[in-house]
Structures are given as C-alpha cells and as structure tokens.
C-alpha cells in the first residue's frame, strides 16, 4: 500500500504535523489499536488490540504491519501490509498501473485518468467538504457584503468540471445530499450579477488575502479559481500559500478548509463541522437541543450558510486505486477507516 502522507510517530498522543499526516495516522492507528483504544497510550503498551501489529517501522518512510492472530473480531485475511509513505500521487498511480502496488489513495481529480489507464478505482460517497472560511475579526472579512459578493461570484460548476474532472459535486450547504436529503435547498449556482452589484457598493480598495495549504495542489487550484471569479466581480483576492498545520494563517482574511464527515448522520456531522468552524469564523457552535428536529438542523445549517462566514464549495469523495489481486475492498463510509482486515488477495491473478 502507498500513501502520500509522511507519518513520523505512531503514538496516538502525538498530534500530526499537518492534516494529511493526522488523517493517515488515524487510519494506521485504527489498524494497530482497533477502534476505541486510542487513549493516548503508546504503541508498546497497547500493541495487540487491533487487527494488525507493528512488524517493522521506519518513521516517515515505511511501515510493515503483521496480522494479529488474537484479534477479537478474527484474524485478518492478509498476512501483512507494507505501507510506503511519502509517495507522490503520480508515482502511486504509476505503481498501480505496473502492479507494483495493491492499494493506493488517489486524489479525486486523478480518478478519471487512473480509470483510463486501466486501474480499478473505488470511489466513496462524497464526504469531504472543501469550503472557504472567513476569519473573524479581520476588517475586510467582517464586511458581510464582501463575504456575500465573493460567495456569489464563485463558479462551483467550473471547479467540479475542470479542477476535479467531475469527481465530486458542488456544495451549497454544509451537509451532502446523500446525508441530509436537504442539500437541494441550497443553491450552488454562481450569481455574477449579484456579486458585481455588491462589489459596486464596497469599493475597489477592498482586498482579501486568501490562505490555502501550500502542500495541497487541489487547494491551490481552487484558490486560483476563486481569485479569477472574484476579480470578474470587481473584488481583489490575493492567494497566500500557508504551510500545512497552521490553523489561522497570519495576514489571511479567509482560508480554504477541508473537513471530512465524521459520521453519515446529519446532526452529528454538522455538530463537528460547526465546532471546528466556530472559533475561526465566529459561527454559532452551541450544541443542538436533545433530539433536534430535522427543521432545527436545517435552520442551523441555513443560518451558517446565509451568514457567508463559511462558503461551501465542493464535496469530494475518497478515491482508492486497487491492484488486480485485491478482493472485497469496500470504500470506507464516513467515520470508518481502511477496511484492510476484510480484504484478501487473489494469488491466482497474475
């Protein structure tokens, strides 16, 4: 298996240096410790509680996991998993094509190319939201007309069609249609005329600095698209690459963020999203009432979106390339991790 992230520590109590490492670390730790055992103990003290155990570990480069014969839910089908870290997306794709790899994460925008090259591709429900978050307290971002004008100028269809190569869907709300069933109530259409009208009220001196993860080519492409759309509406937006891991970039008025659904259930997911967005944007992150009604959940979502402090852009799926030997792989649902304990390899397939 190949991943792009570089994981330097498997200790659950040590935080990842950036979102990519954190995500990969969570996936690997679920294989080693099993769900519910990530309580801060080191790998030495709780080794053996997950479906796999550490056999070899070269931090940041290579990890070999061996099947745990004593796993409570049954020994995994595969004997071992070798995880190569820090592999660029292009190299991961090439290794899949040449059968040098059984499984690799693929950026959503590469899914179509992978399939064209004959790679088996597994695509999850779109469960990762890419959004534009305006940072509370910054003068330019505190002007609601500025936020709304930028929001109305953004061409989500172009992001989906050209940047994502149609792997993903436009997002108008904070929950995807397959989860809430109410995403259709949120418009995803650009409104360049409305954006220009608001822009004419603001004045040309306003300039927004938009931060994005310097190591994320997708965020860079999306940021550049927003710059163009905003410019067409008469608003100056300057992109600023930020080193991954910095929560609020210095000097930035807004930031691109990526948030993955922790659960398929709308209230749970919205709660986590608002908790993450609240401190940065000033959005209301107060807890829902017990047994919140669907109307209350929708109202909270509408309140967040209509404030324009967060502008949903697109929903991304998780995409995996599968080697010819891999059987019984199911793309993980929100809240689930790599189902490697259930996977087996067909050794008769050349």
């Amino acid at each position: 298996m190949e991943i792009g992230a570089i994981v330097t520590s498997l200790d659950p109590s040590v935080a990842g240096a950036n979102p990519e490492e954190t995500s990969a670390k969570d996936e690997i730790n679920a294989l080693i410790y099993g769900p519910g055992n990530l309580n801060g103990k080191s790998s030495d003290s709780v080794a053996g509680t997950g479906p796999f155990r550490i056999a070899e570990w070269d931090p940041g480069k290579h990890l070999t996991l061996a099947a745990n014969d004593d796993y409570r839910d049954g020994r995994p089908f595969v004997d071992s998993i070798e995880i190569q870290m820090g592999r660029a997306a292009r190299d991961r794709l090439l290794d899949l094509e040449l059968n040098r790899s059984d499984l690799a994460e693929i950026p959503p925008e590469q899914a179509r190319r992978a399939a064209d090259q004959g790679v088996r591709v597994s695509v999850s429900q779109p469960d990762e939201l890419v959004a534009l978050a305006f940072i509370a307290g910054h003068t330019a971002a505190e002007d609601a007309r500025v936020r709304e004008a930028i929001a109305r100028s953004i061409d989500r269809a172009a992001i989906v069609n050209f940047i994502l190569q149609k792997e993903g869907e436009a997002a108008g709300g904070l929950l995807p249609q397959w989860s809430s069933g109410t995403a259709f109530l949120f418009s995803t259409a650009a409104d360049p005329a409305g954006a220009k009208s608001l822009s004419s009220q603001i004045g040309s001196a306003t300039r927004i600095v938009l931060g994005y993860d310097a190591g994320d080519s997708l965020e860079q492409s999306v940021a550049e698209r927003i710059v163009v759309n905003a410019q067409d509406a008469g608003i100056s937006v300057a992109p600023q690459p930020v080193q991954g891991g910095a929560p609020v970039p210095t000097g930035a008025d807004a930031k691109l963020i990526r948030m993955r659904m922790p659960t398929a259930h709308p209230q749970g997911a919205l709660t986590v999203f608002l908790n993450a967005l609240g401190p940065m944007t000033g959005l209301d992150a107060s807890p829902f009432p017990a047994a919140a009604t669907p109307e209350e959940i929708l109202a909270r979502e509408e309140s967040a979106v209509s404030s324009y402090r967060v502008v949903p852009l697109v929903w991304l799926p998780r995409v995996y390339g599968l080697g010819v030997r891999v059987r019984d792989w199911n793309a993980p649902a929100p809240g689930e991790t790599w189902p490697l304990a259930d996977v087996w390899l067909d050794e008769e397939t050349p």
Binding site: T182, F184, L185
Partner: protein, 328 residues
C-alpha cells in the same frame, strides 16, 4: 412490459409520515385556504409510490379543509420534494405564502417495518452489438424482413446510406446511396432513420423511398430544416435520450446517456416517471460503454431502442439494439 397496476395502499410508516407532513404544512399555512401542491421525487421511490404519496397528502390536506388551485391563483404554494438521506427518506415541504417561506420536514426511516411490503421494482437493460465500423454511424435500422427473405441492415453515415443484406448468414454490402450536401456539416452532426416510413434525415437533406428496395431511395436537399423533436429526460437535459414506446405499469420508461463528454466512457440508464414531463427516477443498473453514446433513439412500438457508441479503445463506431425489461 406489463399493463398498468392499481395503486396499492401505502405502508403504515409512510401513511404516518404523510400525516405528520400534512400537519406541519397546515401549521405553516396558519388557516385552511386555497393552496397549490406540487410534488417532485428526487429519491429512489418509484413513480407508483410517488403518486401514492401525492394522493395521500392531497387527501389529508383536503380533510383539513384546504382547497387546491393552480399556483397562479393559490394563496399559498406548496412544493413537496421526496428526497432521501442517510437516515431514510426525507420529505420536504416548502410553504410559500406572500414573501415568506417556511420549510417542513419529515424523515421516514428505511426500516423493515415500513418498507418490507414494497417489492424492489426496476427496469433491466440489455444490449446486442449489431454492427461496428470505423466510419461514423449517425443511426441504423434493422427493418423486419418477411420469412424466407434475407435480413437487411441500414447504416446512416454522414455521406451516404448503406444497405447490407445477409448472404449465407453474413452481412454483405448491397447498395450505397450517396447523400449530397453542398456545404460543410455542422460539428455536432446528427441524423436519423425511420425505415418503416422510408425516411432518413441529415441536416439540410432528406432521403425518401422504399428502403426495402434501395434503388428507389432518393436524397434531396431541404431548404427548410427538418425539425426533429429531441427527447429530454427530466433532470438529465443535454444527454442523449429516448422514450420507450411501452410502459412499466403506468410509468413512462426513458433511456438517457451519461453526462460526460466525448472523451469518456459512457452509460445508458433507464428512468421511470409517472409523467414524462415531471422528474424521473433511475431504475435498475446502467449499461456501460467503452466510449460516448453519440446517438440514442427509440424504435416504433417494438419496445427497443438503438444506440450508437464510439469505442474509445478501438476507434470504431458501434451500433447496438438496447432492450428494456420491466421487473414489476
């Protein structure tokens, strides 16, 4: 495809959900009056179920002393969308009164209690490759042949109509009729054949005659463009589409290609709709193709369609007969 079926009663959970939604709608309206009701389905519910839910909702609101009118003359417009989420079906009512909008929602869990009585209804698609060639195929036809006579295959190409007939079970070239066209073709060149009516069309040219005797087919320029109605599947405008002549139950059945471009593999999906102008729901699994579907047309009353696809791997145009079978 079987004849129409009578409306079965709704499962108890659905009836309860309809009552809940109607109650919320009534609360939002404030007082009984003149309302318009539009119900749209964007979920996996079938056309039959959609109609049942619409009728049940209408009956409940009638009992609450609401009167129905067209949207233009109603005091309150109600738009109901039958949607679907992770927790089940999500039925959403948008209540528009003056300049205000209220939203009422009811969630119907997809539990065995509520839905076990509903059989899985779907349309199965199948395809048969009829012909392939490197030259572009605009359309094709397989006219019925009398017993004892050789079969005929007609291929409409941009520059000619080509007739093949079977000799010792092999297709052999019979005759080719040139299609004169004085100017350049449009980039998105389309054409169609109606062998039974003895007509073929390409932009600016119509070919007519007895297609059973190709020597009697003649092509002539048409100064007035021939208006060929385009089939649109609600929600999938822009795709290649065809309406099947027969129905599943009382549902219209339509076929539509995917939404990709001409550099991508494509598919044909069956859709069912209670009304060909209303929203449709996908039914059954799609047929996959190794390239874009460039033409999709239905054939008379035979319950089949003809599809032309460009195979991106071989570069050949492939002509398929597509059949649809109702599984209910």
């Amino acid at each position: 495809m079987r004849a129409g079926q009578s409306q079965a009663p709704l499962p108890p959970k659905w009836t309860e959900a309809v009552q809940t939604l109607a109650s919320k709608i009534a609360l939002a309206c404030g007082a009984p009056g003149k309302i318009s009701l539009d119900v749209k389905n964007v979920s996996s519910l079938t056309g039959i179920d959609t109609r049942g839910i619409r009728q049940a909702l209408k009956d409940d609101l009638t009992q609450r002393r609401f009167h129905f009118a067209l949207a233009s003359s109603a005091e309150t417009q109600i738009q109901v969308t039958l949607s679907e989420g992770a927790e089940g079906f999500v039925w959403v009512a948008e209540v528009h009164h003056a300049d205000a909008r209220q939203v009422a929602i009811t969630v119907v869990p997809k539990s065995a209690d509520g839905l076990a009585t509903r059989p899985r209804e779907s349309v199965s698609l199948d395809r048969k490759l009829v012909w392939e060639q490197q030259t572009k195929i605009l359309d094709f036809a397989l006219p019925n042949s009398a017993a004892g006579q050789s079969a005929t295959l007609i291929i409409l190409e941009p520059a000619r109509i080509v007739f093949y007939h079977t000799v010792d079970s092999q297709w052999q070239l019979w005759r080719a009729i040139d299609i004169p066209h004085p100017g350049a073709w449009p980039r998105d060149l389309r054409g169609s054949l109606d062998a039974s009516a003895g007509n073929a069309w390409v932009p600016g040219v119509q070919c007519s005659g007895d297609f059973a005797n190709p020597e009697r087919v003649e092509c002539s320029p048409q100064s007035k463009p021939v208006d060929r109605p385009r089939v649109n599947v609600p929600g999938h405008e822009g795709s290649e589409a065809a309406t099947m002549s027969q129905r599943c139950g009382s549902d219209y059945v339509m076929l539509a290609s995917g939404t990709g471009d001409w550099t991508q593999p494509d598919s044909i999906q069956a859709y069912v709709s209670s009304d060909s102008q209303e929203s449709s729901a996908a039914s059954g699994d799609p047929l996959q193709f190794d390239g874009p579907v460039v033409s999709l047309q239905s054939i008379g009353n035979e319950g089949v369609a003809r599809a032309v696809s460009l195979n991106l791997k071989t570069g050949s145009y492939e002509a398929y007969i597509v059949t649809a079978t109702c599984n209910y």
